[in-house]
């Protein structure tokens, strides 16, 4: 039945148009969220800079203590991985890129006979590792598109527990670094033990004028002891914000591509539909003409003429 193809195509075009509306809306939402996530990352920067600044001042004042968070294991065999990705899909390769680099690290560790712990951030991460039969130590989700400092504190608390209790020798942080709107890349960063206060200070980023002669309350060591856990939280918070901005940027790109694909598909399907309609009209005319010819008398010629007039009108 020739009319059938046309109807099917018309319905498909309708559904592709709906999809396009949805992907377009998601693209716009993601775009505003990228902007907001970047804004929050900017808002977090003064705190992180001042914190690093204080560490610089401390280092300048000569404080370098043996804090549990600075403890370097002699041989690292147990490693915790904090894997940060998203709660939702529809963000291109965002989740899979992070998960893949995490899995690679874990497999490499296991090949060396090491033991892993997974702290998952984001539903997709937990789902993947669960499905693949990995043990998950702790899972966090429900906030990856808009993390708060409280979230970072909660995760940092668990990670410090693992590290302080000596259950792991090292902690790796795997997340997506937001380089620019066009570039985000998954990175693996050593999270714990922290490098010494001296190294943190040398790497800089703080804006403190490193002048000696500070007095400390309760003591340089006491301040540093309070400072390092906050530094751990601030670093984790920065990573979560970077990951959130990256997630939105990836989703924006993925939805833009999906919208463009839908547009192309609509054009292609419309062409097909027009062709199908044209074909069915041609077939009908051919049927009428051949029917009339087979009758081959005056009456049928009249029918053809009147049909032709109707088509012209």
């Amino acid at each position: 039945m020739p009319g059938g193809t046309e109807r099917i195509l018309r319905r498909r075009i309708g559904s592709v148009k709906n999809t396009k509306k949805i992907t377009r809306a998601m693209e716009l939402i993601a775009a505003t969220r990228v902007a907001r996530a970047q804004q929050r990352a900017r808002a977090a920067r003064p705190y992180a800079e001042q914190l690093t600044g204080v560490i610089e001042d401390l280092a300048a004042g000569g404080a370098d203590v043996s804090h549990p968070l600075l403890r370097e294991a002699e041989n690292v065999s147990r490693v915790a991985f904090v894997v940060c990705a998203g709660d939702r899909g529809l963000a291109g390769a965002y989740n899979s890129a992070v998960i893949r680099s995490a899995e690679r690290e874990i497999q490499a560790l296991r090949a060396d006979g090491g033991d892993y712990r997974i702290v998952s951030v984001g539903k997709k991460v937990a789902d993947y590792f669960n499905f693949r039969g990995f043990d998950i130590d702790t899972r966090y989700d429900g906030f990856t598109d808009n993390p708060t400092y409280e979230n970072a504190r909660e995760i940092a608390r668990r990670v410090r527990e693992l590290f302080d209790a000596g259950e792991v020798d090292q902690v790796e942080l795997i997340y997506t670094e937001f380089v620019s709107l066009g570039t985000q890349r998954p990175v693996v960063r050593r999270f714990l033990p922290l490098t010494s206060a001296k190294t943190i200070a040398d790497e800089g980023g703080g804006d403190a004028e490193a002048l000696a002669g500070f007095s400390f309350e309760p003591s340089p060591e006491g301040v540093l002891e309070d400072l390092l856990p906050r530094y751990v939280e601030a670093r984790l918070f920065a990573a979560l914000l970077d990951a959130a901005a990256s997630e939105h940027a990836n989703r924006q790109r993925a939805m833009k591509a999906a919208t463009e694909n839908a547009e192309e598909l609509i054009i292609k399907l419309s062409r097909e539909m027009n062709r199908a309609r044209q074909e069915s009209i041609t077939t009908e005319i051919m049927e009428i003409v051949s029917g009339a010819e087979s009758l081959n008398d005056e009456a049928s010629a009249e029918v053809i003429n009147s049909f032709a007039e109707a088509l012209d009108a």
Partner: protein
């Protein structure tokens, strides 16, 4: 004499401007008032109230869970991972948090995190009910 004061937390900048005095309580050192020209100083803060006196003489009060105060020649910086203006404290929520923390402490009296939560909730309750902590 006025000097510049910055009060920052990870989520935003709570105060930024000129002031004449900052009062904070450091761990082990008790309450310290910082005036212009204070010697360079870095202190670790207790869960306590931080008071900032603005140039106009108005005093702003903040509840601080933990943090640091850093004083250099011309400026005082207060860093806190969790802080809020005392006027924005939700007394009801603070009382609920206090009860929860005390509950956790009954289960394990050496739970350092619960102890911290309890002190913070207690401070919020005190500040919201008007008495200075």
């Amino acid at each position: 004499m006025a000097f510049s004061i910055e009060f920052v937390s990870p989520e935003d900048v709570l105060y930024s401007g000129e002031g004449t005095q900052v009062i904070a309580r450091t761990r082990g050192g008790g309450e310290i008032a910082f005036l212009a020209g204070h010697e360079p100083f870095i202190g670790s803060l207790e869960p306590s109230e931080v008071r900032v006196t603005e140039e106009s003489g108005d005093v702003m009060s903040f509840a601080v869970r933990s943090g640091f105060v850093s004083v250099t020649g011309q400026s005082v910086t207060v860093l806190s991972d969790q802080a809020m203006p005392s006027s924005e404290i939700d007394g009801e929520a603070a009382r609920a948090d206090l009860a929860a923390a005390q509950e956790a402490l009954r289960a394990n009296e050496h739970d350092a995190f619960a102890l911290e939560d309890q002190r913070w909730a207690q401070l919020l309750v005190d500040l919201s009910s008007g008495q200075s902590a």
